[in-house]
Subunit: 342 residues, 2 copies
């Protein structure tokens, strides 16, 4: 099973992609380089070097592993992998500005340190850098990959818009279908694109590319469902977030929307709780909310739905990569991202 | 002189590029399409159709006319022209958010109508759309053009950063060189890139492409210098802005920074005036500020500098296009954008 272990795949991806990523960011003009190096965890706010904590490299690992699964060379896809990671981080920079989020990867977000303008500009520059990396890549698939990544950016923007717009509406005004479509655009699209780019770089057929995209999308939805479960029932000592953080913020995450749509008495109770802001002075308010989501079937639904999405992902993967040995790495990655509750 | 007249060239560029631009924008998901159609003047805020007032199409006209000057077909470069216009408008959307500007092309800016988040997302989507248009273009120059446009976006971001950072500093802390470098990055870079893309699409040599870029950059600087002159001495009935608007806002425009750096008694007076916010209750305060910039030589410097930049632009153009007949269209455009004081 050498090379099939997710932790090892992720570590190898970091090792291969970080130099490309770092060189690309070092090529930026001073102001944007500084924001980007801070955001990626390579510098402290004062510009001194930091150990680096740029996330788990799941997207670059998907690009490289998808390329290898279709018989391509990992190394040949390293620029594509870096480009996907740049796009991911451009959206994080902008999302944090829009959502006024103050913490990212256990550190103050870039806009809280450098201001809105520089965080927006650094995000703009990272998007441009991603497309520049791809369009300057002499690989024959690079132009097609660049066009696909640009289309994906548009879908990510639509996902973020839907997320922002949904949070402004009342708890009863959001349907489960809307919520799933938002999660697919916001999370599934880029995981799908990462796998599709790997397939393109391996010279895969149009069918392979679409099957790989579908694999990544379905795995991405499974990931989002599990992430939403963790946002309610996750162990604070492991997640780094306070217990029930999503419920305290009255977030319309997938288990909540499923619970609200269940037509049960617990759904009515949950709707009443969600109609007013969380009040920590009220004894047991959080526990009652957690229990209402659970009794209305939100947790069970999310876990079943995640399992169903994983099954679909595996089916799509088997279309593009029938050999289980060759598909092993991608399966490990998909399992890794959805395994975090156990 | 048929086809050499700037107004005619601009009108023809609009006619050729608008359908490409419009189709690209119509392909966006609903939320971003709405913001973009509003920003381009094709829809009112309520979504009803509008006559359209998307600016003068100078950048698309430069792409098409540069291509034609080097023997290329205008039509073949229409996607590249639309891509440059999309990038320009993506930066306008984001700059307006950062600068809190409330008026653009005589209408409320997009963020005042749709909120910061949707204006940022629409800008992000327009950047992606620009790169998508180019990378999906089957033209042999499209990948090189896309990489060049992506590099240009990074330079535009740096220019906007420098502009924002400069406005926060004291009037005596900004040098003329910094101010010129900012204007080159913020305005010159995209005009240069437009001409370079035209050259690339015409199959021009590397030297032609660089000379065309330099032509556009120098013409862009001349344009910015004249624009800054208009911002102080322009006729309000023609500019649509109140007289001396840039001085009222204490803007460190090029004539102001040149005046401050002149070492004259008028420079000292100007520095004192700029040290405190404009107070309209103070009789004659604006007139005194205008006069101080003039006496310190700010107006003369800007006009001489603009003429010098135009001379350099014409020299660069003659390197790429020695035949004056072939260069006529680009000369007309360069003169058009710098002619607006007369």
């Amino acid at each position: 099973m050498d090379g099939q272990d997710a932790a090892l795949i992720l570590e190898q991806a970091r090792t291969m992609v970080d130099p490309v990523l770092r060189a690309a960011i070092e090529s930026l003009p001073g102001s944007m380089r500084r924001v980007a190096l801070y955001h990626f965890g390579w510098e402290h706010a004062d510009g001194s070097p930091a150990a680096g904590n740029a996330g788990k490299a799941i997207r670059p690992a998907l690009v490289l592993t998808a390329a290898a699964a279709l018989g391509g060379r990992r190394e040949a896809a390293s620029r594509a992998a870096a480009a996907v990671e740049l796009v991911h981080n451009f959206t994080l920079l902008h999302d944090d500005v829009m959502d006024r989020d103050t913490t990212r990867r256990h550190r103050p977000t870039a806009w809280t340190v450098f201001g809105d303008a520089d965080a927006i500009l650094a995000g703009d520059a990272l998007q441009a850098l991603a497309l520049k990396l791809l369009t300057e890549d002499p690989h024959p698939a690079s132009a097609t990959a660049a066009a696909r990544l640009a289309s994906c950016v548009i879908e990510l923007c639509e996902g973020q818009h839907a997320d922002t717009a949904m949070e402004k509406r009342g708890p009863g005004e959001v349907t489960l279908d809307e919520c799933l479509a938002m999660a697919e655009a916001k999370t599934g699209a880029l995981l799908g694109c990462a796998c599709a780019l790997g397939a393109l770089y391996a010279g895969g057929s149009a069918e392979d590319v679409e099957a790989m995209d579908a694999f990544g999308r379905e795995a991405g939805l499974a990931f989002q469902l599990i992430d939403d479960v963790i946002g309610i029932w996750g162990d604070p000592s492991r997640t780094g977030k306070p217990a029930g953080a999503d419920l305290v913020a009255r977030k319309k995450s997938l288990p909540v929307v499923a619970a609200l749509a269940s037509g049960t008495p617990a759904a009515t109770e949950l709707a009443e709780l969600y109609a007013v802001p969380y009040d920590e002075a009220q004894e047991g308010a959080l526990e009652r909310t957690v229990l209402a989501v659970e009794r209305a079937g939100g947790r069970d639904w999310a876990q079943l739905q995640a399992a169903d999405r994983m099954a679909r992902a595996i089916h799509e993967l088997s279309r593009a990569v029938p050999d289980p040995e060759a598909a092993g790495g991608l399966l490990s990655l998909a399992e890794f991202v959805t395994r975090r509750t156990t």
